[in-house]
Amino acid sequence: MPETVALFNGCGGMSSLLVALGVAIFPLSSGQENFDFFKSLINEVSISVSIFVGAITFTGSIVAMAKLQGWLSTPGWTQSKVRHFVNIVFAVASLIAFFDLINGNSSSIWLLVIVSSLLGIGVTLPIGGADMPVVISLLNSYSGIAAAAAGFVVDSQLLIVAGAMVGAAGLILTQVMCKGMNRSLVSVLFGGSLSAQSTTSSGSGEYTNITSCSVEECALTLEAANKVIIVPGYGLAVAQAQHTLREVTKKLEQNGIEVVYAIHPVAGRMPGHMNVLLAEADVPYEQLKEMDVVNPDFPATDVVLVLGANDVVNPQAKNDSSSPLYGMPVLDVQEARTVFVIKRGMSAGYSGIKNDLFDLPNTSMVFGDAKKVLNDLIGELKDLGVGEK
């Protein structure tokens, strides 16, 4: 779903871009009658802004969509210093085109279109992983700004109001998510994806103490538990396992086991992604707990099920000051008595950083696709008589 939102968003940006382009090439008849310098300046500035922001929104959203769909991976060169250079070149070029346009050189409008489109790609391409929701909501904000600028172009108050509202809304959401990751907006935009530095500093460590266990053991432990916390992540969304998960938790609840879902603010690829996902599976609203609420509960928890989440449960963020994740608020799942991590393989999370959680003695890995594992889990729980009346 985040990718469709990105796609629609891009279309909004494109629309604003086209309007401004149309007005720029064929000046509206009404604007010509009482020509004065100030008015035409405003007109040209708003056209330029609309084109600039619209183009960034469009190409940025398309890149974001392609990355979310997995069509596009992060190319290596975008992680090096080269990309700063490239983006600065684009930015400067668009500034030149901008002033050229205001000076009356109307042909530079094409330069502006091309360069700002490239800038949109260049800025979005290096960003990945946990930063994706931030980018999406930022692009959303941009499309609002583009619409507001288009409002200035065609002199429409309604457009300006709506555009400004959307722009402000996107900015707030962006801010909320940046706080959730303890990163500033600037570091998201210019820091690139986390993996760049991690491979050299702490990513080199190999897993030494992995405990893998069968679904049966997992079911046995769950049956004996009093309190279970589920930590969903993007993997759950990919596997579309939310309904199966709900069946598992229903069985546990019928057995008198307390089940709570711990929602990290940036779990998934959109703000509130997990909430929507679990709501779809009819999980009661009250069982969804936010990070700050649920963190003190972990020491009193018997079993934590981590489903397709990785970076948001990495204890490195608390313990290892050399880790790129350091300082990011995480769920303290390692405090619980037993942690089961359901995961397809040992691949790293989106940030590309080793997860120390997997090495801890109280963590067991259950390898497999989330949906398949949960289905097996239902079978095992049935055999144990859990949830049977």
Binding site: L7, I160, V161, A164, A168, G272, N275
Partner: protein, 97 residues
Amino acid sequence: MSFISLLWVLLLGSLLGLELIGKVPPTLHTPLMSGANAISGITMLAALTLIVKAEGNVPLLIIGSVSLGFALFNVVGGFFVTDRMLAMFSRKPSNKK
């Protein structure tokens, strides 16, 4: 409409957005975002204005129409997705009975 008053509209619109969105709980942030996204398709109006003012200028008409198409896609798709998300939320109370 003078430029200054348009600037005022811009400022007030931003403040309205800040005020409205600041009160939405994080749970609803996804539908909120996709709803806001759909609203940004309001550029549709700009596209319409463009078409009206084209007055037979064919290239301008084409640009306006393409722009209208994009904006419509944004609005319709955006609200459709938002609606589907919200439907997931509203189903719950009836199920809990």
